[in-house]
């Protein structure tokens, strides 16, 4: 037995055996929390992530291999790739989910009032799709502010 094989088998066992089993448990917890009107998002997304552990690790490896292994910028580029992926891939998907949730709530709720939840969903979807623009706007403000107040 070697330390290398031990830690490799431990990782494979945890990622490919235990996590898919725990996924069922997390889904059950999410259902129970949903029934009690408690926040269930963490358990639900945790269940999905348990089933996607290998894919998440492969994604991390892809982010970490954007530059050569001995390039000093490799960690920076990994973080940039991660941020790019979250903002340009995950957030638009989340925007679509928010539009669907907003439409469902708009259709099911008879009262139309600015404080109803459907508006929050559409605003969230807009913000998800505007992330890059908001970032550029913040950069613009900071760049303009360098000169001070005139």
């Amino acid at each position: 037995m070697s330390f290398n094989h031990g830690i490799l088998n431990l990782t494979n066992w945890a990622g490919n055996v235990i996590l898919p089993t725990l996924a069922g448990l997390f889904f059950a917890i999410a259902v129970l929390k949903f029934a009690r009107t408690e926040p269930y998002g963490a358990a639900m997304y945790g269940g999905f992530l348990c089933l996607m552990a290998s894919g998440v690790l492969r994604a991390m490896e892809k982010f970490a291999s954007q530059r050569a292994w001995n390039d000093p910028d490799v960690y920076w580029m990994s973080l940039v790739s991660l941020v790019d992926w979250i903002c340009n891939v995950l957030m638009p998907v989340y925007a679509g989910l928010q539009v669907a949730a907003g439409a469902l709530r708009l259709g099911m709720v008879t009262r139309i009032h600015p404080t109803e939840g459907w508006m929050r969903h559409f605003v969230a979807a807009g913000l998800c799709l505007l992330l890059s623009g908001l970032m550029r706007l913040a950069e613009f403000f900071v760049t303009q502010g360098i000169g001070g107040v005139t």
Partner: protein
């Protein structure tokens, strides 16, 4: 988890000893060769596997509503160990 990893290391002591022995070139700079090979073994073999463990921990933390982003950053760093070492060297120069 630290106890499990320590137990694994202790159970693999004989193999680790053989591994280090195989790194010994027997030359005048044998100590440096062994340390260099150990560093390569750590950065190239152990760290990427440990990154997988960190991702598993991050997922469990996320599902149980505990801080998970730190483990994600650590997993990314474990996959970039050599680059981070070069970054430290370039900052020092």
């Amino acid at each position: 988890m630290p106890s499990i990893l320590t137990a694994m290391f202790l159970l693999g002591t004989q193999t680790t000893y053989s591994l280090i022995q195989s790194y010994n070139t027997g030359s005048q700079v044998a100590a440096a060769d062994v340390l260099d090979s150990l560093w390569n073994y750590l950065a190239g073999t152990i760290m990427p596997i440990a990154a997988g463990l960190a991702i598993v921990g991050a997922i469990i933390n996320l599902a149980t509503r505990r801080p998970a982003m730190r483990l994600v950053a650590v997993a990314l760093a474990m996959l970039c160990v050599s680059g981070i070492w070069r970054l430290v060297l370039s900052m020092e120069a």
